[in-house]
């Protein structure tokens, strides 16, 4: 099989957005993932959006069972999985019906026409066949009998027709790989490795993939072949990585950088479970993973491990964070290092377990009883999860405090190319434990006071096992210094204020402004909105208008320069995947008339949506053109 056979027939585009949609059993996540990998190796910049139903096996052929994977590939730096797909691959009528609305007008629609028969049409809720008639006018429709051709291709291999049917996603992958001039070897190699020992499956998948590729090459599709050239990425070694993997590796890195063994207490919950899976693999790094009986035990065990000198971590999503609230308060009171990771999902209650949302900020900030401040950091991209995990550990271990790390379903499952950092460039995390008395009692004897704070108000930690420094700590209010139980009113007020001040005074880097510093409008974001905001700001500026953006990694404490920065813009817009949580904090903290841009669809913002909101406001401000 050749690569780009006849250059004359291949047109160049700078980017393309492809959406693979089919039944949950059709293997669309795998298809999308393979296409992404091939594109990454080809050198494109890319961003992905896997979307799948919460049910493991929704009834086949129904709208509820549609699983989709959107990938945006380009020859330049991109920040989102794209506003609307240019190409939709629909493996059955339900996929067509549910996802057609996302396709750009005039976009390319590739359908497996074998599935458009009466039963499937009825399951999808069609009373007619949309392939006949005018339903799809305005799109370039490519109807392919994928099932038939795949079965034919497998006929002589000894593969049963039913098994051959399961390879049709590789046909689709082969066809789209041909259309976008993807290298074929990585996919064929992957098939060989993935299905090693199952020769018939390898043969069927290879045959299907090759048949799809050949179909593109030998039919009238010739004119439609395009190439998206490699993006001018910074030189280096790259890998394609999703947020949960990057976060897991960040935790492993933090363990190495601090010299503390990593201990994860976790309870399975979508979309955080993959971190438990990933870390369970890394025993070679001395990682202990503990699948607890519930969310509370998971955080409790992490606190216990942290008390013993491990880097204690617990991972969860919103419902689990709610359950961990009391134990997080204990960690605040004990002033022990702890990382609490919340991979946010749609809420309230069970909500939308597999869909993204970022509505846990208020719970992260205030979701514990009493005055119990915790530093909060949030990742902005899948690869940023690596760095933010290290930052969370650095704060926790330096300032002896539990830290909340916020990510979300979109970052967790979405992937992008990552230029691997040089491990030697990662800064070590200094950890100090007390080994000597720090106080003298009335009898002139040396004693250890666990709440005798240093200049940063950080208390000393003496690990159990340290001779002579035996002491007791607990959730009851403690006397300043000695740590003994105290119900004294003045002492309580002092301790509340000390705990508040020591977290509020943790130094965090200044927030940086991107775009036009002298613009009238500043767009402020946190978490995964970075991609859409950055994409939107680039587009608006490319259109000759001025706009600036600032993105917060540290949500508590907030950067010291944020107040002045907000005050220096005429308008401040805060896009969030909630009903306006950060915007309330900014208004309360800084008395600025910041306005929200909200979305609650279980999907990330598109750059177009943010762009539209920016333009509306610039319009209303009567100018802004540079």
């Amino acid at each position: 099989m050749t690569d780009i056979a006849d250059a004359a027939l291949v047109s160049e585009v700078d980017e393309v957005i492809i959406r693979f949609a089919g039944d949950s059993g059709d293997g669309m996540q795998l298809t999308g993932d393979r296409f992404t990998s091939a594109s990454a190796i080809f050198g494109n910049d890319l961003s992905t959006l896997p979307e799948y139903p919460a049910e493991i096996r929704a009834p086949a052929g129904t709208m509820a069972g549609v699983s989709a994977f959107q990938v945006h590939i380009s020859d330049h730096d991109i920040t989102t999985p794209g506003d609307a797909p240019d190409v939709l691959v629909a493996m059955n009528p339900a996929a067509l019906r549910s996802d057609l609305g996302t396709l750009v007008p005039g976009g390319t629609l590739i359908v497996n026409k074998d599935t458009f028969e009466e039963r499937n049409l009825a399951k999808a809720g069609y009373d007619h066949n949309p392939l006949e008639g005018d339903d799809l006018a305005g799109y370039q429709v490519i109807e392919v009998a994928m099932t038939t051709i795949t079965k034919d291709a497998c006929k002589d291999l000894g593969v049963k027709p039913r098994d051959a049917d399961r390879s049709k996603n590789f046909f689709a992958l082969g066809l789209v790989s041909w259309m976008y001039s993807r290298p074929v070897e990585p996919t064929l190699d992957w098939i060989d490795a993935k299905f090693a020992g199952r020769d018939l499956v390898i043969a069927a998948n290879r045959a299907a993939f090759n048949a799809g590729h050949a179909y593109g090459e030998t039919t009238e599709l010739g004119a439609q072949r395009v190439v998206v050239k490699a993006a001018p990425l910074e030189p280096g070694t790259y890998t394609n990585i999703n947020g949960n993997t990057a976060l897991s590796w960040g935790l492993v890195a933090a363990s190495q950088l601090s010299g503390l063994p990593l201990y994860l207490g976790s309870y399975p919950i979508t979309p955080a479970t993959d971190i438990l899976h990933e870390l369970s693999k890394h025993k070679a790094f001395g990682v202990t993973t503990f699948q607890a009986e519930d969310e509370i035990a998971a955080v409790g065990a992490a606190i216990g491990a942290s008390y013993g000198g491990s880097l204690g971590v617990t991972t969860t999503s919103g419902p689990g964070l709610a359950l961990k609230g009391e134990a997080m308060g204990l960690a605040v009171s004990l002033e022990l290092p702890l990382i609490v990771v919340d991979i946010q999902r749609g809420g309230p209650s069970t909500g939308l377990p597999t869909k993204t949302e970022a509505a846990d900020l208020m719970m992260a900030m205030y979701g514990r009883h009493g005055e119990s401040p915790m530093p909060i950091v949030a990742a902005r991209t899948p690869t940023d999860c690596f760095h933010v995990a290290i930052e969370a550990a650095r704060i926790a271990l330096t300032y002896h405090t539990p830290v909340l790390l916020l990510s979300d379903g979109y970052l967790a499952n979405g992937s992008e190319p990552w230029r691997l950092p040089d491990v030697a460039d990662l800064e070590p995390i200094e950890v100090e434990y007390a080994t000597e008395f720090n106080q003298t009692n009335e009898d002139g004897e040396g004693v250890f006071w666990p709440y005798l704070r240093d200049e940063n108000l950080v208390r000393p930690i003496a690990l159990p096992g340290t001779p002579e420094l035996m002491h007791r700590i607990g959730g009851i209010e403690k006397e300043d210094g000695s740590g003994n139980v105290s119900y004294d009113p003045d002492n309580h007020e002092l301790m509340v204020r000390l705990r508040d001040r020591r977290i509020a005074s943790i130094p965090v880097p200044d927030v940086e402004v991107e775009g036009d510093a002298d613009a009238d409008l500043l767009v402020v974001g946190w978490g995964s909105t970075w991609g859409a905001i950055t994409g939107a700001v680039r587009r608006v500026r490319a259109g000759g208008l001025k706009v600036a953006s600032a993105h917060l990694t540290h949500l508590y404490p907030l950067p010291a320069n944020l107040g002045d920065l907000l005050g220096s813009y005429e308008r401040v817009l805060v896009p969030e995947l909630n009903l306006g949580q950060l915007v309330r904090i900014l208004r309360a903290e800084y008395l600025v008339d910041a306005e929200p841009l909200t979305k609650m669809k279980g999907q990330p913002f598109t750059a177009g949506e943010v762009q539209h909101a920016i333009l509306e406001r610039l319009d209303g401000m009567g100018g802004g053109r540079s």
């Binding site: 490699a230 503390l260 890394h282 025993k283 409790g300 216990g304 008390y307 230029r419």
Partner: protein, 348 residues
């Protein structure tokens, strides 16, 4: 690096220093109600630990919430007073991270069988290396007198003014149901017995579960006096001894025999000594121990004490650590740079 921390390794080589009760007592004033059964449990522990040759710096008491849970403050060891019900969870993390420590878990019947019941049964199921002492006084003391999950049916309390309608947990039966590898009962009026049971719990590898019948003289006074007072003990406590026939009564005139419906109390003279059940702590099947635990439904009838079950089984934390060591022996220590390159990579 990144091995289990053990800051006391160097000290380990030295002989354990001689200690006394004073060395194990913290400088904090004990604040239980005067006459509380907790005092005698504390004394028993403070006197026992020097005898066991334990090291104070290697000893950690973890507790939840309740009267019993104040225990760690009075021990001159490491200690954490955590939150209601969660002590077994916190202790599990500590014991996994630090197999070099002796971790004791202290809690009451509300703490460990109500709000924290889930953590208790899972700690026992996993066989984490913990010594769990449940002070059972059949009442909520710290919140001033509500019924607990071990209160007897019909019990009149502030939250059950016309009598409790639900039946209680039998803590020993719960622990045996979770297949705990060490299960024992003792009571606060017999220091020698307490110390013997605590010593056995300390020496057992894995989860040791001890129910201590404890008097709350303010909210549930005398609830166990029908069985634990000195003058009734002989007839009302069935002291279990491994390898010995299960006999009790001032003349050892009563015994326990196996019947199709379970074990029952019999008169030795009627059935003959050869029919009396010989106690065996080491039977892996917990059924017989469970049956013995069912002999007394309320403290009004003869109640077994002592060690019900003590079997060797893989300890959880060490098994988890062994998996890590095995992987490291096979693959070597993890290398971060290699981890980052463990998925397909490409060069630009």
């Amino acid at each position: 690096m990144t091995d289990v921390l053990d800051p006391g390794t160097e000290a380990e080589a030295d002989a354990v220093p001689e200690t006394t009760r004073a060395d194990w007592s913290s400088d904090q004033e004990v604040r239980w109600c005067p006459g509380c059964g907790d005092y005698s449990i504390l004394t028993a522990m403070q006197l026992l630990l020097p005898e066991l040759g334990a090291r104070r710096e290697k000893t950690v008491f973890i507790s939840g919430i309740g009267c019993a849970a104040r225990f760690p403050y009075y021990m001159n060891t490491y200690g954490v007073h955590t939150i209601h019900g969660r002590a077994p969870a916190v202790a599990t993390g500590l014991a996994m991270a630090r197999p070099d420590l002796d971790v004791w878990v202290i809690g009451g019947d509300g703490d460990m069988l109500s709000i924290g019941g889930n953590h208790l049964i899972h700690a026992l199921r996993r066989n984490v290396n913990l010594n769990i002492l449940l002070f059972n006084n059949q009442i909520y003391g710290l919140t001033k007198g509500q019924f607990s999950p071990t209160s007897q049916k019909g019990k009149v309390t502030k939250s059950s003014p016309v009598g409790l309608v639900s039946r209680p947990f039998n803590p020993i039966s719960v622990a045996l149901g979770a297949e705990a590898t060490f299960v024992a009962r003792t009571h606060d009026l017999d220091r020698r017995h307490m110390q013997e049971v605590f010593r056995r719990a300390y020496e057992h590898e894995g989860s040791s579960f001890v129910e201590v019948l404890q008097n709350c003289n303010v909210f549930n006074d005398g609830v166990f006096s029908t069985i634990t007072k000195k003058d009734v003990r002989d007839d009302m406590l069935i002291d279990l001894h491994h390898g010995k026939p299960i006999l009790f009564g001032s003349e050892k005139q009563y015994g326990v025999a196996r019947r199709p419906e379970g074990v029952v109390i019999v008169e030795v003279a009627e059935v003959g000594i050869e029919y009396i059940l010989v106690h065996d702590e080491t039977i892996r099947n917990p059924s017989t121990a469970f049956s013995i635990s069912r002999l007394a439904k309320t403290p009004a009838t003869p109640t077994p004490i002592g060690v019900f079950r003590a079997i060797d089984s893989g300890e959880f934390g060490r098994s988890v650590a062994a998996q890590i060591r095995e992987v490291q022996a096979q693959m070597g220590r993890g290398d971060l740079a290699s981890l980052l390159r463990s998925q397909p990579t490409w060069e630009v």
